[in-house]
Symmetry: C2
Subunit: 677 residues, 2 copies
């Protein structure tokens, strides 16, 4: 009796002996090797491609002969002819083990393939979406053993894939019979894994082998913009991304004005709900169009959003979120049908998952940041700030994570700033003011040159400079301070005091002229005293929120700062610290996480275990309510000033060494603001 | 140390000792005594009324002193003043145990109270509906421990009622916050027990204690009529019943013509679906109006229906049910939201349960008959026949149950009969023909007198006799045979041969004149040769179905026959056997079960365990498909004749002793009919 051939799979290293003639796919399944297959080994889906290795594999103690696998067969030849197989590849369901062999499973043949995220520091996402495709052969009906078509589909899924118990809604049942017959009782189903305790749900069914792919949407539903990433649920690749304005803006710029709109206008919440749902439908159609896929192939959606957006999306009046004690209607994660949200553009049975909210002011967007950045797994104490109209702030390490939200207002997004605008071509995004001459130089979005470089105006055109975006205004205020044009209290000096004609009178205060494009028909771009005040309010709120978490944690410094959000990605950490937006840390300890909320949504879309994880994590986060905490107000007031720090920023000292300046004027309205509630 | 007081509950006999001062409700709960309470012992719902007994209870070995319970308290006094307490009654949550006591729980205070069904032979229904009311006090929101209102509702239900895990749809979540606040965080919820593995669902919520009741609908969705019983889910009482015509009749009289309509007209199935759903909404509105309740209090619906009605209700094209192999889209029981069936008249979150189908021709209505009549628990071999446009037939005892459906057509319901009409006032429902004079006498619905009794015409009026209903035509055909006016093959004789002027010529055959009301402006009511043929076809189909089951069971007689259905309740068993509709059994072994399918629906509405039971039972029933069984055709042809049996019917011999008669004519079209498929 000879020994059965030895099979070693890479990269897993799993190995075993199998009778000669065993298909590679069968061996992989028995060993628990992660080798994909939709058709269940019928040689039609081509998902189980493998690469056999030949020759000496001393690491594995195997020498592979040229005839270790069965010969290339007709199924493989036909597939290669029609679609093309990469050189060296075989179909795992066709190739049979004839001798000792080493078999590599390439990444694209792994079910739980890993998707590398762009941010270098971030973890990879293991593909394990809630919805997968399964090809099955269903028994034909038999009068003598009567049973429903759906029950026979369930039996086939159990027999061929080991799936116990399925369910389907009426719209699926109504198409089941014609599809089964069209496919001659061979069909592909999209099966959505049940939520806790529920059976799996058939989301769609196609005759024969469905090769059109399966898609999901990760949606970051912000107060101002809605961003969607269309993701291939088989590969994890982003097929298209798009963003649109949140149409609720016409009901109120910020969250509290939308809550007010709902309170003042009966049915106002329903208007806003209808508006946002329509926008999401439009957005879904756009990304599907861009990726050239049928939007009906979108079977999953994950939403992240703040609590007010959360309630308005769900059709719940957000009135309770506008007043203490800021009670959410529900805080836990939501799993529901897209139809319940009127998302008619998608597959009619598409499933929605919404991350849990943390508290009345700290939403699913913050939960998504926690899922993406994992403060609870950090060795050092990390402060994570997601800057938007509200700032979501997380502070934590392996021992404990705290969260709060701080109402920064829209100034950081360029709103309520005299020359402010969104980050778009023509917006000044970076600015430097020479401490000696007080002259500015700047860079606008859409042009790589600085304004004092040759050819800048040729590229941009004077009329092409349209305003200042969020990152530009932060740099402008910090640079004004560093150039001695602004005192610690945030007051700008006159031309006489500061010695520069760039300081121009405006009402009873002064403004700094950044750029005058009026001769060319463009705008005159200034930073006014009002702009300074708006930024001071915003940065004080952000800083106060961070301090409150530090108090709760009992620390007065953090080890690192992560700036999240589209805006966070463009902030200059140095200027942010000059301004006092964030606590002091060494500059190399400030990193950008990009759109961490959106990334969290993508993770939850691609990996169901991540949903369970964030539900658990959210339950363990300590929630801090800023609105009722007297110390928040204290920190807020204390953070209003812009002290000129020389330490710990040696980089700054290389740029400027200026005396403290102080101006004396009247007419300042001070740094107080009304708190909501 | 004294011994704690002894408490004995009747009728359960449960007993135990409790510390003096323990409320009766608490003692009942600890002992597992079935004592209702919605408010959880707060003295507001009055569901926990009990009757203490005083004096000597030798059976229980207890002597009850006058002060065995605490004194009547303010809560009880207020309740008595406002609503009135029956003499001797106490509120179980207020009365405290002070000494040995015997406490009776009256039926209306039992959660699982039993509802006695009208049919004397039938079992009682123990109330255990899927949806119940629960009063709870929810914690108010706390900013320092943020949690959603829904999560706090869930906690309250767990704390006060031990219910683990609840869910709700968006429409409930959107009303949750205002209702909680209106009720000052005291609310009543209607909670629907989850289907297997699912958590319970909040169907509705009311501020404070909801006293408006909770209702369910049991709907028997027939091809011809739709009947609804509005049932109080707390008491089990039927609050109102109503029936309307199935509007699908305009698309086809019988099932197969409706399937044909769907096959011939694209979208025809959707037209029929919309029509039946609209009719159900109307019917629900009617019964709610009759009972003077808000239809929004209807939170449950149970449907029983045949497979074609089942598919059309669900919005599934029934085309596969019109052709071999008669594949159902799904055969298992269905649990879904009423909204999915567009039943907008009901509570927006009302839950629907549809009994399982047995086979492609044997529907949920037959399953409901099995649930009501329980052939699987019968000691003797029972044949259960539910007569309608299709007959559902069950044969079984404790060892095994078989089922089939037989296409009798609508003749038994008075359709396709020349003078036929539905069972309504004015219809002849019983008829006797004197074997000597050949003269008829009859009774019409709405009048207790026979037509030959004095004052009959005064009561009915000649024009008030409008036609013959199903039971009337069966009796007429049997009586014609017994009176020698009809031969064994079903052929009627002429006036010359039979010697009565009541036999009048009609086309090339003859008709029997039952009643001529033309002088008074009424119809001329006859039984034509065509009517005889229609009844022969129907009775042959019914008999052949029963025989097929007897063959499959290997028997040639049954022990008893149960006639179910509204029609079955009015059939004369004697005439049915003369006709050969049902196998011969002693007359006292033929019983009527009334509307057994409707009763099955009511059982499933009132008791969730019954749903699980019928799902199990249906899986064990042997399905027999009549359409493909060659022996069905054999039995069908053999059953066409109407032999004049003198045995085992001595009763008949008392009425008539006639010679066999035989007529000779041409023009008979014979007893063959097209089979479906």
């Amino acid at each position: 009796m000879t020994t059965d051939p030895l099979v070693v799979f890479t990269p897993s290293g799993k190995r075993g002996r199998f009778a000669a003639g065993t298909p590679v796919l069968t061996a992989a399944r028995q060993l628990g090797v992660d080798l994909d297959s939709v058709c269940g080994g019928r040689g039609i889906c081509s998902k189980c491609q493998i690469t056999p290795g030949y020759g000496e594999f001393s690491k594995h103690g195997v020498t592979v002969a040229a005839d270790a696998l069965s010969e290339w067969n007709a199924v493989e030849a036909r597939y290669d002819e029609k679609r093309g197989l990469k050189p060296g590849r075989r179909l795992g369901c066709q190739a049979r083990i004839m001798g000792d062999v080493v078999i590599d499973v390439p990444p694209e043949s792994q079910v739980h393939k890993q998707v590398v995220r762009k941010a270098a520091s971030a973890r990879v996402i293991a593909m394990d979406p809630a919805t997968r495709l399964y090809f099955v052969e269903v028994e034909e009906p038999d009068m003598h053993e009567p049973s429903g078509d759906f029950e026979r589909l369930a039996r086939a899924l159990k027999r061929e894939w080991g799936i116990e118990g399925i369910r389907a809604d009426l719209s699926l049942l109504s198409k089941l019979q014609p599809v089964l017959r069209k496919g001659k009782f061979q069909v592909t189903v999209a099966l959505h894994r049940g939520h806790q305790g529920e059976s799996a749900q058939v989301l769609d069914i196609w005759p024969g082998l469905h090769e059109g792919g399966l898609y999901g949407l990760a949606i970051d539903l912000g107060s101002t913009t809605i961003a969607a990433h269309l993701t291939n649920l088989e590969t994890g690749e982003v097929a298209a991304s798009a963003g649109i304005m949140n149409p609720q803006i016409r009901f109120g710029e910020d969250l509290m004005s939308r809550v007010s709109y709902a309170m003042m206008n009966p049915g106002g919440d329903r208007e806003m709900t209808a508006a946002v749902r329509e926008a999401i439908n439009t957005l879904a159609g756009e990304v599907a169009g861009e990726a050239e896929i049928d939007a009906g192939l979108i079977v999953e959606v994950v939403f992240v959003c703040n609590p007010v957006m959360h309630h308005l999306l769900l059709g719940i009046d957000p009135v309770e979120l506008g007043q203490a004690p800021f009670a959410l209607a529900t805080s836990r994660s939501m799993a529901l049908g897209a139809r319940e949200l009127d998302l008619g553009t998608l597959n009619p049975r598409a499933q929605v998952y919404i991350l849990p909210c943390i508290a009345g002011h700290v939403g699913a967007d913050c939960a998504a940041v926690a899922l993406s950045e994992e403060p609870g797994k950090s060795e050092d104490l990390a402060l994570i700030v997601d800057v938007g109209t509200n700032a979501e702030i997380l502070l934590g390490d392996r021992t404990r994570v705290l969260a709060c939200s701080s109402p920064t207002g829209p100034a950081f997004e360029g709103a309520q700033i005299s020359s402010g605008q969104r980050a778009a071509p023509g917006a000044i995004e970076a600015i430097r003011i020479d401490p000696a001459t007080k002259e500015p130089r700047f860079r606008v979005i859409g042009c790589d040159k600085w304004s004092d470089e040759a050819g800048f105006l040729d590229e941009v055109g004077a009329g092409g400079i349209t305003g200042i975006c969020g990152s530009g205004i932060i740099e402008a205020v910090a640079e004004l301070r560093l150039a001695g044009l602004l005192d610690e209290s945030g007051l700008m000096g006159s031309a006489e005091i500061t010695g520069t004609a760039r300081m121009i009178p405006e009402a009873r205060t002064h403004a700094y002229l950044v750029h005058d494009g009026t001769a060319e028909g463009g705008p005159r771009i200034t930073v006014t005293q009002g702009d300074i005040r708006a930024i001071q309010l915003a940065k004080s709120a952000l800083y106060a929120g961070a301090r409150l978490l530090m108090d709760a944690r009992g620390v007065d410094r953090v080890d690192r700062v992560v700036l999240a959000g589209a805006f966070g990605a463009h902030i200059s950490p140095l200027h942010a610290m000059v301004l006092g937006m964030i606590p002091d840390v060494p500059l190399d300890k400030v990193t950008s996480a990009g759109n961490a909320a959106g990334t969290g949504a993508r993770i939850a879309l691609c990996n169901v275990a991540a949903r369970r994880e964030i539900e658990r994590v959210v339950g363990e986060i300590t929630k801090v309510e800023t609105a009722i905490e007297p110390k928040f107000q204290e920190h807020f007031v204390a953070a209003n000033a812009i002290p000129h720090k020389t330490d710990p920023f040696p980089e700054l000292n290389k740029i400027v060494t200026l005396p403290q300046v102080s101006f004396n004027t009247g007419g300042d309205t001070g740094g107080r603001r009304r708190r909501r509630g």
